[in-house]
């Protein structure tokens, strides 16, 4: 790994978060224009979590994410072109246009979705970790889920089983305080989610999800713990989504002032301000970075626009495998 200095590293974090931010904003625009259809769940506000956590993973590790996974996909290194084309439904998309926004998959980066059933990805992560352990591979499976998933039976079953079998799973809970439109105080008897790990004998901690450096630090230590073969780790990232749950959500469940309050801790602003304060980043550099990101996104949109539709004759392909596996 090429040694980069602190400034470069932080600027990389900033760019990655900015890419996610602008990508999501563009997605919102394209959804309004009906280029993207179905459901769209934006990651705006939560960028620090994806970027910070991905930093702690190696390319050999596996990632299981939720339906709000654009941030994770981009931070993992999936191509914005492939993601945008996927959301357009084009066959050049990462899932051949079969999945859409909620089902981004990528074998090259070991990105196992894109899971639309809340809590549905947790059991999968157990198995991936189990396979690694049984095959003697020192890999980590990173499983993202939200505060809503903590209520599902799968959370209980998965935490217990992961702990029991000492599976190398890094559980990342993105607690953005709302399960769709229901605030956590209405869904959890014990709102301190990190405290739940103790009940399963799972090492747990909590981190400020708006501070990318804090997230990265916590995630790195957690991943290291898991990689050493100590069993699973449960890291709660306290974050906030600035946008509604999905596009078609009037946010009747929360006040604008709450959102404004959290926006003061916008992860991108926090980092860029810190960099500027320390003289590590100028306005011109920011503008340049913005342009650069804008170019990348424009290219992604152009790629998607130019994409082609999968032939309808192929409809029944990929229900069963076409090559016989050994």
């Amino acid at each position: 790994m090429k040694k980069e200095n602190e400034k470069e590293r932080l600027r990389r974090f900033l760019r990655e978060m900015l890419l996610i931010r602008r990508f999501e904003e563009k997605s919102a625009e394209l959804y309004s224009a009906m280029k993207i259809r179905g459901f769209l769940h934006l990651y705006i506000g939560e960028e620090a979590v994806a970027v910070g956590v991905m930093e702690a993973l190696t390319p050999e590790d596996a990632v299981v994410a939720t339906y709000r996974e654009h941030g994770q996909a981009l931070a993992r290194g999936m191509s914005p072109n492939a993601i945008m084309a996927e959301m357009y439904g084009k066959q050049e998309g990462c899932s051949r246009g079969r999945g859409g926004s909620m089902h981004l998959f990528d074998a090259a980066t070991r990105f196992y979705g894109g899971n639309a059933i809340v809590g549905g990805g947790m059991p999968l992560s157990l198995g991936l970790a189990q396979a690694d352990k049984m095959q003697g591979k020192a890999r980590v499976t990173c499983c993202f889920f939200g505060d809503g998933a903590v209520a599902e039976g799968e959370f209980h079953e998965s935490m217990n089983l992961a702990s029991l079998w000492k599976l190398p799973v890094l559980f990342i809970c993105e607690n953005n305080l709302y399960a769709m439109g229901t605030a956590i105080r209405y869904t959890q008897a014990v709102q301190d989610l990190a405290s739940k790990g103790a009940g399963y004998g799972v090492q747990s901690s909590s981190v400020d999800g708006m501070d990318v450096e804090a997230v990265e630090d916590a995630a790195r230590k957690a991943a290291e713990y898991v990689r050493q073969g100590n069993g699973p780790y449960f890291l709660e990232c306290r974050t906030y989504r600035f946008r509604p749950h999905s596009m078609f959500d009037t946010e009747l469940y929360r006040g604008k002032d709450e959102v404004e309050e959290w926006k003061k801790r916008d992860p991108i602003s926090l980092l860029s301000q810190r960099l500027k304060d320390e003289g590590l980043f100028s306005d011109q550099e920011m503008a340049s970075m913005e342009r650069d990101v804008a170019g990348e996104i424009e290219a992604a949109v152009a790629f998607a626009e130019a994409g082609t539709w999968e032939p309808v004759q192929d409809l029944t392909r990929f229900v069963y495998s076409e090559k016989r596996a050994s």
Partner: protein, 402 residues
């Protein structure tokens, strides 16, 4: 110049109502600014704009509900003259996604499984597909077969039996099935009889409408108690009623021979049966007055079957003491029949159908049938004829006693 349009906010959002403009025309707007509020089935949304520039005059008024994609206002580049642009009201911006969707390659529809290349004979004969195939193969007429399958359907074994039967020599005492020459012969016989009838018998005609509501209701209830194969047809009711009414007016039941009426002690009612190859036969059902409705149904069915199979007994051909014609199936209302000599009467029924019926100064719709009596004026007169019809109608109103 850009457009600010009604955005799609959800998979099931089709339209939105503009509630409030949050910026005035001419105001400078940039990406992400909230410029309007829109009402949808989900509630109130604040809509952001993705264009930069000066927002133009509203093209949609507050309170208007417009489809997704409708241009709400134009956005002009700064410095440009803001002139009112002629935009068709409620012009929906056709999303490219939609248009392209129409251009999606269409899959070829799956080809329907080709049916076997034989023609299935038409007609209301219930028969299994396999039986039909076999019948076509063996050249057997399905109409001539009696089915023993579920609900009387014709099955393979029935077809096989029929194929064997037609290949054997028909026993002497049975009437041969109508062939081409026989059909001709039959026509001639009918012609002769009808001519004679018209020549010799002074016919008089009486007609009466009978309200069939009660008998049919009774029959429907009765039939619910019976398995399908034993259900009784209305024609059977009519037959029995005729036989019973003859008890009141026996002079209609008999023959005019040697210049005088010979009343028959038995009521063998000739029942007109149309043959599939054309032609009409009126074999007699013996002693109708002594049979129960169920027995009559069986006898009638069995008679029809044997008639069509060409297996009538000669006694059946010659013993009718009166004839009944039921043309109900064909839809005629009234039948003006011709008496078969030497009989002296012919009772005929048209179709049982719904008609307006006046009673007690009120109008109702009832199922009715028109019964006609064609009678030989040498044997009876209108008075007796009327009494017969009256009795007929009366007996029909008490079907349980038939």
């Amino acid at each position: 110049m850009g457009e600010f349009y009604m955005p799609s906010l959800g998979a099931d959002m089709e339209a939105g109502t503009l509630v409030e403009w949050l910026v005035k025309p001419g105001k400078r707007v940039k990406r992400g600014d909230i410029v309007a509020t829109v009402e949808t089935q989900k509630g109130l949304f604040e809509i952001e704009i993705f264009e930069e520039g000066l927002i133009g005059e509203p093209l949609v008024q507050t309170g208007e509900k417009v489809p997704v994609g409708t241009v709400l206002a134009m956005v002009h580049a700064e410095g440009a003259q803001v002139t009112p642009v002629e935009v068709a009201p409620k012009a929906a911006k056709t999303p490219i996604a939609e248009t392209t969707a129409e251009q999606l390659p269409r899959a070829k529809p799956p080809s329907a499984a080709a049916p076997p290349p034989f023609s299935v004979p038409s007609g209301r004969v219930a028969s299994s597909p396999s039986a039909r195939a076999l019948a076509a193969e063996l050249g057997v007429d399905l109409g001539a077969i009696h089915g023993t399958g579920p609900h009387g359907a014709i099955q393979r074994s029935d077809v096989e039996l029929a194929a064997r039967a037609t290949s054997q020599e028909a026993p002497a005492h049975k009437e041969p099935a109508p062939s081409g020459t026989l059909q001709e012969g039959m026509r001639q016989a009918i012609a002769a009889a009808m001519s004679r009838s018209n020549r010799e018998i002074p016919h008089y005609y009486l007609e009466m409408d009978i309200d069939m509501s009660r008998p049919l209701r009774w029959l429907e209830t009765e039939n619910l108690k019976r398995p399908i194969r034993e259900r009784i047809l209305p024609a059977v009711l009519l037959l029995k009623a005729v036989a019973t009414a003859l008890g009141d007016v026996p002079e209609l039941n008999g023959f005019w021979i040697d210049n005088r009426l010979q009343v028959s002690p038995e009521a063998h009612i000739g029942f007109a049966i149309a043959l599939r190859n054309g032609g009409l036969i009126t074999p007699a059902i013996h002693n109708v007055d002594r049979l129960t409705l169920a027995e009559l149904m069986t006898a009638m069915g069995e008679l029809i079957e044997r008639t069509r199979a060409g297996r009538l007994r000669s006694s059946e051909m010659s013993d009718a003491t009166i004839t009944m014609t039921n043309l109900g199936d064909l839809g005629v209302k009234t039948v003006f029949g011709v008496i078969y000599p030497p009989q002296v009467a012919l009772v005929a029924f048209g179709r049982i159908m719904e008609r307006p019926w006046a009673e007690n100064g009120m109008l109702a719709v009832r199922r009715c049938v028109t019964a006609t009596l064609a009678a030989d004026h040498r044997a009876t007169d209108g008075h007796r004829g009327s009494q017969f019809l009256e009795a007929l109608g009366r007996y029909l109103q008490n079907p349980e006693k038939l």
